[in-house]
Symmetry: D2
Subunit: 386 residues, 4 copies
């Protein structure tokens, strides 16, 4: 078993990036339910994100979404973040909320639309230069709804062309993170539907092109930890978008639907060296009906708990059982770690960092929820689905 | 084989109800793409629906959605419809687009919200009285997103109570149609997730409570035609909501994703006597990226083609093969009908009804699309996802 | 929270029936891997089952499978069981392993085959009379592989007829348990594919006809605990066939694939009164590659752990959170119980019953595995897939 | 639209390889139903395969499965085939039906088992040398059933090592075809679960390593034609294993479950140049309950019909509609081809080749079924699942 001190040290180093858009309203195609006190500006989102970091000590960076988080002065925004104890993180592009993108963005049959989308991606790189962000995360809503609607293969050619142009534009310390998604909003084909497609494109681009695994973007029954292990083996796992789902891309709190799966994923991350490499751990969630800040705190905690359990796996005993073909014993070694209640350990870790052992309770006591509900009245949030 | 004359007669009698909301804008949680010329009023929706009937001869009624189609004078609306050659059909309730319904409507933990939802359902019955509609179609977005969020069983009790109250309110010639849905917008539980749940509730209500099969509301791999056959055998198939899907509830044009499945469904409908009974055939679709009126015309045609093929099955030869256990021959008899090109037959049927054999071409020539694009400027549609 | 004493008492009363066939070899269509020491006779299966009960204290009965467990003298078999500390339990019929059943058994198009199948079911009732078994569990492999192969609706009529004949034959203290299965071995239709179909048949039969929930027999994404809650609400949950699956009907050890789901199921069982009613808790698993007896011990323990966690849910706190619409708190109350490490509690329970706290270790020390490997040489097991 | 003469020419050139094992008995884990007249020797399988070619003119080669088709003299077997009008085709390895392979073959934790498996693969290459076969098709049943059972990543290393050794052994005109499979017989992980994994391995091996798409080996909802288009774009589509499925790997007759999907796949094959390249089109099916030879004839015909429809797509009209963003028209162009009844065209093609227009009827009239039923009595087939 990993030494307790080493487990604690690993947990203290773990960082989960929270997404600015998760602090705003979200919903389904049926309804976006407005919540009181949600941020109306990028600055207010950063304030909320800072609260998550204040109580967890594990969420030091905030992902931006362009254009939702567009500001005139990114240096000032970065300073604002710094002043609140967090940093700006990954820049996320958006090529799906403009009427021009009805039939796609970088894969659109019309070159003018593709150009517009590409210009937006270039703008994102400019913003990265201004914010000092390392990662550009690309998710394309591109795809088709009906067989025959467009030429599946030409769309790949268009995609490859756009990716190459963006990759070319990146600085030496910047990365292109390509996200795949099984379905939605396109229903018949998705232009980057699986890890294989993302991987094949990244291979052609170069070493700073990496794949993003969004835990909600797979077909039913897919073994996600296998993909994680494979991408780590190939040196192409760039980041996670964490969330959880029962059926489709439900974007529920990570660990809420299948905590055992999250544990298995974190085990493969650790086993493959992903915890101490450049893999970025991000949340990508929608808190449609639950309070947003505590939901994000809970999500960070869920990642921590899965990580702690994965760190506790007795890897030597596991290797012995595996090599001897003792199926039950190997499984038992893994389950022993999973069945451990790691909450006391994590409370200790937090206390050693000078934090409250129970971040949710501490947040509730802080009065922040009441304050933003009272103060953030009027105005309008720029957000997704809003 | 069914006599050609009988096949034609059956096709001439077939009616597909189109939904008022399909004429308006729709989309996904990511974006609703606005289309030019979409209706802004219930009357304009009826005008468009009338065009679908004018060119297909098979869409004589229009389903209403309350409150999207609320008007002051329903008798006048019915007369407006009549003047345009169509009739008002099923009334659809909406208990999901109000902030109060964040945690449910008739299953909500708060009795005040349940009362509000029930009042809406009563209002729908009042509207049915005014329009002369036979059917009230109930789909509840109720459910939960997280394990533990609410008591699954108490929600059933609340649902049963509301359904009983509505059923009680119905007139002797009115029906309650209960729709089930596997998931979405709730992600963990749905309060009427499957036909079994809808059926069990209907059984307790009485004979005028019937189940609605929405072809997009099932788990992957579900054999929908089996459910159709079973509900017909039980005397509880009230209606269809037709659409098609590749993965979730995609609401694509019926027959677009799996035309063979639609054929099998129509075969079971015919075999179970559903074509000549009170089963209502409705569309429930979203034309997010394609032109709406021609998409609805195409959908009506797809239902007709599947029906024509199903009518052509040589049921005597099929029975002989089935009884003798000749698997390949029985399958071949079914496939022989499916592989037949029924478009010439349907063109004949239309021409015998005084229609153009090619409804899409006729619609395109009619100039309606250009006219509404030019005239319907300004104003705002009331619609779903809008 | 439930009082600790009450939790322990409930756990001490819990009984899980183990299936005689799980002690024998099993496999996939690709290969049945033989294991050393597997039973060759019903008596040897009972010996193994007795070991599971000896070390867990929670597996007092053994389900029989006819004809695999056919003997000349069932009274003697019952006495043999008694002498080894266990009892005979549910009788399982088998109408799938005879060449005559290629196109079905009770749903077969040929009346002679249906008659043969029905005679087998009657024989099973006779055996129940001899063994004193309460429950007859019926699972039919019936279905079709190709559209058109047989008449879906007539097959339901044939099924209803057979079920009625069997129900009629039962004694007043005997029950008919009808199991549904989504797919396999039939691929296009299954004659009892879902709980709704099983429920509808049971309703017509009478109160002693009850539904069996096999946890591996559902479409992907199905919420099984919802079905459990619904069947308990309807008074029609007769039994569980426990196992777990990642994709299809994998028949892995219960709790191995999704322990959180098993916990949620046990929570609904407890909440619906199923723990103290006549619901039968059975395993139905295949230990294709792992040692069978310890796998079954582990499975019993997994059920116990899930039950213990479900018993620990603070139902008062849960109700408060649910009624106030506090989504996060309600979920947290449930997760608090799930995240508890209940293994020490269960060790205590076992020790209070005079057992070793660690049944797997105790079994390993017992030498039983070595003994049967040495002694059970030659002969042939009668089993499934063998 | 493609010129009719060109369509006919393409159809006349199309070849579908039939698998020797499909002529033998097969089944599910529940039961293998024996059929009268099935082959008992490789020679008898070739005789049956020759009949399929005799009546379809489109099945000129037969895939072998080692060890099921092991003979002392492969040159003699090739000559036997030639004398019957067919040729030996792809060699399929089998590393799943030996007790040693319980925990895997080339991925097994034990080096001795891996060595045994590799020796078998080398033997297969030797057989290819003797038969003159071009392709070695590798499908590995390797995987794990339980989390923790083995090290996922080390298994990839072992796999890579074995593949490299086999690739090295191949002659310059020989290919390694790597097949992926989503699940079964392993239930937790499969060592080559998706096209991405197969593709990544092939990339490292070299240009003669190609991916096999088995149409039944995907998660629910997977867009197979997208994978086909992508692999063709990457130059890595080596072969198809055709069959169809409703839920899992059902191995039903190709085109039986979703003929529209098969059409879409063939469209992407043609669009990507796969019809005239080195892509091998093979069947891999199990005719568990239907007569085998006519089922295989029907399967070849289903591939031909899908191909004919795909050839009829008016690609110019399609491109115009696609480029102009006319979703409905583009879909309509595709559907127009799909809705065409191509059976008369295929009858013409056959007649022009001197064959009967209706291969099934011709086979039935031939008396072959009666002859083999009478003659093939006694003996035992070597086959899968038997």
């Amino acid at each position: 078993m990993t030494e307790p001190a080493a487990v604690k040290a690993a947990l203290k180093n773990q960082a989960v990036e929270t997404p600015s858009w998760a602090y705003g309203n979200s919903g389904t195609r049926f309804k976006v339910f407005a919540q009181a006190g949600v941020p109306r500006t990028p600055q207010e989102k950063l304030e909320d994100a800072a609260k998550v970091h204040e109580f967890t000590g594990a969420a030091p960076t905030v992902a931006l979404h362009i254009p939702w988080d567009k500001v005139d002065d990114y240096a000032a925004l970065a300073e604002f973040a710094q002043d609140h104890g967090v940093k700006l993180g990954t820049v996320n592009s958006n090529t799906f909320q403009d009427d021009d993108y009805k039939l796609g963005s970088v894969c659109h049959p019309d070159a003018a639309v593709r150009r517009k989308a590409l210009d937006h991606l270039f703008e994102c790189v400019d913003i990265m230069d201004a914010t000092g962000s390392r990662d550009l995360k690309l998710w394309f809503a591109d795809g088709t709804n009906y067989p025959g609607q467009d030429d599946v293969r030409e769309r790949q050619d268009r995609l490859a062309e756009a990716l190459a142009a963006v990759y070319e534009r990146l600085g030496d310390d910047q990365r292109l993170l390509l996200e795949y998604k099984f379905f939605e909003p396109a229903f018949y084909t998705t232009d980057v539907p699986d890890w294989g497609t993302a991987y094949a494109h990244c291979l052609k681009l170069g070493p700073r092109a990496q794949v993003v695994v969004d835990t909600g973007h797979h077909a039913p029954g897919t073994n996600i930890e296998f993909i994680v292990a494979t991408l780590l083996r190939e040196g192409r796992l760039g980041a996670f978008d964490f969330n959880s789902r029962f059926y489709a891309d439900d974007d529920l709190m990570v660990g809420a639907a299948d905590p055992f799966q999250l544990f298995r994923i974190m085990y493969e991350v650790i086993r493959g060296g992903g915890l101490t490499s450049d893999v970025a751990f991000m949340l990508d969630q929608c808190h449609n009906i639950e309070a947003k800040i505590p939901a994000i705190i809970r999500s960070v905690m869920n990642v921590q708990e899965a990580t702690a359990k994965a760190l506790l796996v007795d890897r030597e005993a596991l290797a012995v059982a595996q090599r001897s073909g003792d199926v039950l014993e190997a499984n038992a070694v893994l389950m022993d770690a999973y069945n451990t209640d790691v909450r006391p350990l994590l409370a200790e870790v937090r206390e050693e960092l000078g934090l409250d052992g129970d971040p949710i309770a501490a947040y509730r006591r802080s009065g922040w929820a009441e304050r933003i509900t009272a103060e953030r009245v009027g105005g309008q949030q720029a957000g997704w689905g809003a």
